[in-house]
């Protein structure tokens, strides 16, 4: 096999591994952004954080929110709920950022996977 072709196949392998590794990270962050409380489940999104912040700014102590199943969930303390949403959001995104930064710099398959090249 020519040198050029070998390099092309190596690169294809690298791109495939990179894509899978990136998807693994997305799966992890999506899971971390799912938050279950009071019998309901919420996806922590910018929209949810903004909406809850709006309710807090309007000095509402509690509220009924629709969860991902469209079930009405009573949230007793909106301040605490907002804090939890923000805390979990940044826990997820900071972990993603750290892993993604490492991934971006890796130019070989063994570095993507973080194993010894032997």
């Amino acid at each position: 096999m020519s040198n050029k072709l070998t390099k092309a196949l190596e690169f294809a392998n690298y791109r495939s591994s990179l894509n899978i590794q990136h998807n693994n990270m997305k799966a992890r962050v999506q899971t971390l952004l799912s938050y279950s409380t009071n019998g309901g489940t919420f996806i922590i999104s910018h929209e949810l954080i903004s909406f809850v912040k709006l309710l807090v700014d309007r000095e509402m102590p509690d509220a009924v929110l629709l969860d991902v199943y469209n079930n009405p969930i009573q949230i007793e303390n909106l301040d605490t709920f907002l804090e939890e949403l923000i805390s979990r959001y940044f826990e997820a995104t900071n972990e993603y950022f750290a892993d993604y930064s490492k991934l971006k710099k890796s130019r070989k398959v063994h570095k993507l996977i973080d194993i010894d090249d032997d």
Partner: protein, 295 residues
């Protein structure tokens, strides 16, 4: 309210399901901080695993062991192909007849029923406890090798109902769950009729099929009438994949088979997320490595 995990584990000639269940029970304790894990097995499997791994290893892994008798006629008739990558395939008995007894056998008010090979590498299933939904299981799944998509795993038939995965099922002791498992038993006992109606392929009895039919019937004959678990998807690998190593706690490096180059693999590191590992030999091979990272 008591809560716990339930695992069914019946060994066959090659696969030590009880050992897989014991390793998984230890992962559950470590990652979900739940010490109540019940295993349903039979005396032959128990004796074999105790002889190979030691009785203490088995008894310490579970808080409760339930023994059932195997239906030998069913065992002989329900044979499937197990793969240890594309290079090795074997036809072996697949004993899954009693999974629909989960409701009667579970000692808990809230139960998470899992396959022995669904490795618990995170605490994500803890979000099921005290949920408003009394019964949850997934139809959405995600292959770790994202390019690989098998449409036969999405529906029982190309024009049929959505396939639910009986790999992970959450249920509370309630009328609905009781009725659900009764319906699964009814489907199991009248397989030929329901296969004619729902047109699932092959002759193998799979719980995914009977649970999907029950979900369709008890979901009011509507598509996806039963709510999913509170997680984005069930992540899975195939039996054509293999495990390279366990680099550290809750991490697995997989060999994933390329979709267009059978027998050729790419590596990936999977971490801190539960995963269904279909290659049972692969889990058995790395189980001692996995145990090194269980406190």
């Amino acid at each position: 309210m008591t809560k716990g995990f339930l695992i069914f584990a019946h060994n066959n000639e090659e696969i030590d399901y009880l050992k897989l269940a014991a390793v998984n029970a230890r992962l559950i304790k470590q990652n979900c901080s739940i010490s109540d894990v019940t295993v349903v097995t039979n005396h032959h499997s128990y004796d074999y695993t105790c002889a190979t791994m030691g009785e203490e290893f088995v008894t310490d892994s579970f808080s409760n062991i339930v023994f059932v008798e195997k239906d030998k006629t069913f065992k002989r008739s329900n044979v499937r192909t197990y793969k240890d990558t594309s290079h090795t395939a074997k036809s072996l008995p697949f004993y899954n007849l009693d999974r629909c007894d989960a409701y009667d056998l579970s000692p808990y008010d809230e139960t998470i029923l899992i396959d022995a090979d669904y490795l618990i590498l995170s605490d994500v299933l803890n979000s099921c406890w005290n949920h408003d939904n009394e019964f949850m299981m997934n139809w959405s799944y995600q292959d770790i090798m994202v390019e690989r998509d098998d449409p036969t795993l999405r529906r029982l038939h190309p024009s049929g109902i959505t396939m639910y995965w009986a790999t992970v099922v959450y249920f509370k002791k309630c009328n609905f769950s009781e009725q659900f498992f009764k319906t699964v038993k009814h489907v199991r006992d009248n397989r030929q009729y329901y296969q004619d109606v729902y047109k699932w392929p092959g002759n193998l009895y799979r719980n995914d099929y009977s649970f999907s039919v029950a979900a369709h019937m008890l979901g009011g004959f509507q598509e996806r009438g039963i709510p999913q678990l509170p997680l984005p998807a069930l992540y899975k690998t195939f039996d054509t994949d293999d495990i390279h190593s366990i680099p550290c706690k809750n991490e697995i490096i997989f060999y994933l088979e390329k979709p267009k180059a059978l027998g050729d693999f790419v590596l990936t590191r999977w971490k801190n997320l539960d995963v269904h590992v279909m290659n049972k030999w692969a889990i058995n091979r790395i189980s001692s490595e996995l145990m090194n990272y269980i406190e």
